[in-house]
């Protein structure tokens, strides 16, 4: 279905990311291995949703984080993120 290909962003991935990180990381700052840009996870571009998804750098399109669900396993490939800075408090400035 064409609409399944539509691009969303890291905000929509927040639920799956909570499964991986056990806390909200949409406000966390991720550094892209491709171009070095630093930005909030919520502002990354999301392709696919729910069962499997990729978060890409909005600047250079590097696949920063992949999460795929396969029969009882969550496969997480974060090789496109060189540093993830997670705020300790849930409040934001």
């Amino acid at each position: 279905m064409q609409t399944e290909e539509m691009r969303l962003d890291g905000n929509a991935a927040g639920g799956v990311l909570r499964e991986v990180f056990a806390r909200d990381v949409t406000a966390a700052l991720a550094t892209c291995t491709g171009c070095g840009a630093v930005g909030p996870v919520g502002a990354l571009l999301e392709y696919g949703h729910g069962m499997g998804m990729i978060l890409r750098c909005p600047g250079c399109d590097t696949a920063m984080l992949r999460v795929v669900r396969r029969t009882g396993w969550l496969h997480v490939d974060a090789s496109g993120i060189s540093l993830l800075m997670i705020p300790e408090s849930t409040s934001i400035s």
């Binding site: 279905m1 969303l8 905000n11 927040g14 949409t26 919520g42 490939d77 408090s89 409040s91 934001i92």
Partner: protein, 265 residues
């Protein structure tokens, strides 16, 4: 993974200060439904053990067919944190898997699997202050409505310190979600609501009749020197264009937060 990230499945046992409750699927009950426009419907939900939410957050909704096939989507919460129940407003996308069910089949008393609230980036609390600029395209108004309703719940003295401007782009007047409520909210001296209609041929419309552009943002947003916070939500092209223009107008990119809505059905 070649990066420095280690994912520890047991992290929830340690419960650091910022740890959040485990995100569980819960069966919510539909309390009521309300048609907002010909294509958008609000579902008011009673969610057991709802921990409360922040304006701008969303929930994931999961539908499971009898053969086990699952569809999952994210929908923004429209209600204020102060409201007793959780309201979602869903736009119907034809030929899609989830929204036609939510907008057409679901009835009061029915159950619906949800998990949430989710999100810590596209959120606003009145304690963060303003001035606040909200820019919406289409159903992108939904999380911004939660922010407006949250603002309206604040004490008059607090509200008076936080001015809000909403710029909302819709195709036609009949597509404007929450129109009457927005008119009521705009009576407040601290709230300004501006609509632009991109495809309305109605001759009576005196307001903007074009897509949001640089001149419109210059006119309707706060001066960049005012240290405002901006939340932009809508279809990807609108969000990217508005965010880029705001930064070009001098707004601090860190204070321009975005949420892209795709018609994922």
């Amino acid at each position: 993974m070649s990066s420095g990230i280690r994912v520890t499945p047991e992290v929830t046992h340690e419960r650091p200060a910022a740890a959040q409750p485990r995100l569980e699927w819960r069966v919510a009950t539909v309390v009521s439904v309300r048609d907002e426009t010909p294509r958008a419907r609000t579902l008011v939900l009673d969610v057991p053990q709802w921990p409360g939410h922040r304006a701008g957050q969303h929930v994931d909704v999961r539908l499971v067919a009898e053969d086990g096939y699952q569809s999952q989507r994210s929908y923004s919460i429209a209600s204020a944190p102060e409201d007793a129940s959780v309201a979602l407003t869903v736009e119907r996308i034809d030929d899609a898997e989830v929204s036609p069910y939510l907008c057409g089949v679901l009835r009061p008393g029915d159950g619906l699997e949800v998990r949430g609230p989710i999100g810590g980036y596209f959120v606003w609390d009145i304690a963060q202050g303003g001035p606040l600029l909200l820019v919406a395209g289409g159903s992108g108004i939904v999380p911004l409505m939660a922010m407006l309703r949250h603002h309206a719940h604040a004490d008059a003295a607090v509200r008076a310190r936080v001015s809000v401007r909403l710029l909302y782009s819709a195709r036609k007047l009949e597509d404007v979600i929450y129109r009457e409520e927005l008119e009521r909210l705009a009576v407040s001296p601290n709230v300004k609501v501006t609509l632009t209609l991109t495809r309305d041929a109605a001759t009576h419309w005196q307001g903007y009749r074009r897509r949001i552009d640089r001149a419109m943002l210059e006119q309707e947003s706060w001066p960049a020197s005012g240290m405002s916070r901006a939340f932009v939500c809508g279809p990807t092209p609108l969000v990217e264009s508005v965010a880029t223009l705001l930064v070009e107008l001098g707004h601090d990119p860190a204070r321009v937060r975005t949420e892209r809505f795709g018609p994922t059905g």
